[in-house]
Subunit: 292 residues, 2 copies
């Protein structure tokens, strides 16, 4: 019986949105069994129809025989976990999350389960929801793990194996450093982008506002994609990574004011240098697969 | 002879970058003849190899028998046109530009050619250069024309026909209003996006900077695409649409400070409302084909 479990691991996935759904599809494609736990009956039904999971339920008992449980829940649900979910987690299973902040999650989960591993796959698409799930979502992406001194080493290896099965590679990072880095490249851009949408909408002249709507093209679409995303996620990022985000916002404001001053003083030589710098910078920050 | 010209119009395209190249390909696909004028011999050779044009030269005499001449030049070249180019434009041909600001271009070209029409196709891709040209680049995009009271009505119809052959639809707009609208949806986003790249690069802690590079994902790639674009284009946008851009930057700065204040005061209810607003706004600003 134990041998059979090792051969085809059984993974519980709690929350079947884009990330939970994509993990499920990817693991199933590798021959793993996936037990899904959905909050609502309708989500369970959709997941079953889409073939995301081997079996699915709204009852946490579905996690009973799982070797690994992936918590693919929104940040708020992860940070204030329901008691019956915590109770249903098998003591011997590895429990991991995929949330976009790590220090607050470790603070909560460190004491909730002995084999908890905090992780964050650096993948995403413009779409959301289980219908957008893809078995290849994590291909080539770094999968951050933020172990602590007392993190179970076997549990860590299990998470590394799972990430590797999904085509990803693990990156061990300090939780606080992770949160500071994602504040810059993942959380700050949400507010920079949202402010751009609001600015156009707040244009006082209705003719110009109307015309701006008609003339917005691919550049505007790209720049506002994440600012027009899920409000729950944006709010959670800000509330659970508040200080690092505020530091990023302050630096950003200074940088933008510098550019504004250059334009005010019509220093086109300097502006050209600044834009040459950003043109040269981008390739080192953006992976090849996302360059265009 | 005249009849034959009407049946298969001959269009001169001056400048064979992404826009000039795509116009050439699209017109050729519709059976039109295209005479390309390139600045450098190497560009002419590449255009010939790629089949962008029916014939190509670095000598403006290539425009001699063209019914229409499209000036697909960088803004600076358009606003300080070379004398031998202006002299080579046939007096009876329709001359049109495709530049991203319209009032300064009209100011220069209004007196340079009697049948000049100012226009701006609202299309683009992340790529640039003639190699990225596509016959379908303009499909479904608005093609702005900014006629003046004395603009030749026949010339206007010719431009409308050309845009329609390329799968685009013309939109008559006042030049100053065009420039104010594109300041918001096209020029402002360049600087918002460039400042985001600079902010991450200016991070003082080298470990965090390094980690941010590793963790940047699709959201960062999208938000920084146009900020990492052509420095000549960004500088030209700022210098030729300076006041409208500065107005946009000032509004943007206020909006971002509002969001910052909301985060400082941890007013998550208010932040959620703001992000719900931007989520609801985006679909009206971004055409269906660019939603995702």
């Amino acid at each position: 019986m134990k041998k059979k479990q090792l051969a085809t691991p059984c993974v519980g996935v709690v929350g079947l949105g884009l990330i939970g759904g994509s993990i499920s599809l990817g693991l199933q494609a590798a021959g793993w069994r996936v037990h899904g736990l959905a909050h609502h009956y309708s989500a369970a039904e959709r997941a079953q129809k889409l073939g995301l999971v081997t079996q699915v339920s709204t009852n946490p008992a579905v996690l009973e025989n799982c070797n690994v449980v992936v918590l693919a829940l929104p940040l708020t649900a992860l940070l204030q976990p329901e008691e019956h979910l915590v109770k249903a987690l098998p003591a011997m299973s590895v429990v991991m999350d995929v949330g976009s902040v790590k220090a607050p999650i470790l603070q909560v989960w460190h004491t909730l389960h002995p084999r908890f591993v905090a992780s964050h796959p650096m993948a995403g698409t413009a779409q959301s929801g289980m219908e957008a799930s893809s078995a290849t979502l994590f291909h080539g992406c770094p999968w951050v793990i933020t172990p602590q001194n007392d993190t179970d080493q076997d549990a860590l290896k299990t998470v590394q194996r799972l990430a590797s099965v999904l085509g990803s590679h693990c990156l061990k990072v300090d939780a606080v450093q992770h949160d500071r880095a994602v504040a810059l490249v993942s959380h700050l851009p949400v507010f920079v982008s949202a402010a751009l949408l609001s600015t156009v909408c707040d244009e006082q002249d209705p003719d110009i506002r109307q015309l701006a709507m008609l003339l917005a093209s691919s550049g505007f679409a790209d720049s506002t994609r994440i600012g027009g995303g899920n409000p729950e996620l944006g709010t959670a990022m800000a509330s659970y990574n508040r200080l690092a985000l505020l530091k990023g916002l302050a630096s950003y404001r200074c940088k933008l004011e510098q550019l504004e001053q250059i334009i005010i003083s019509s220093d086109w030589f300097q502006l050209h240098s600044e834009l040459t710098l950003t043109q040269n910078l981008r390739p080192s920050f953006v992976p090849d697969r996302l360059q265009s």
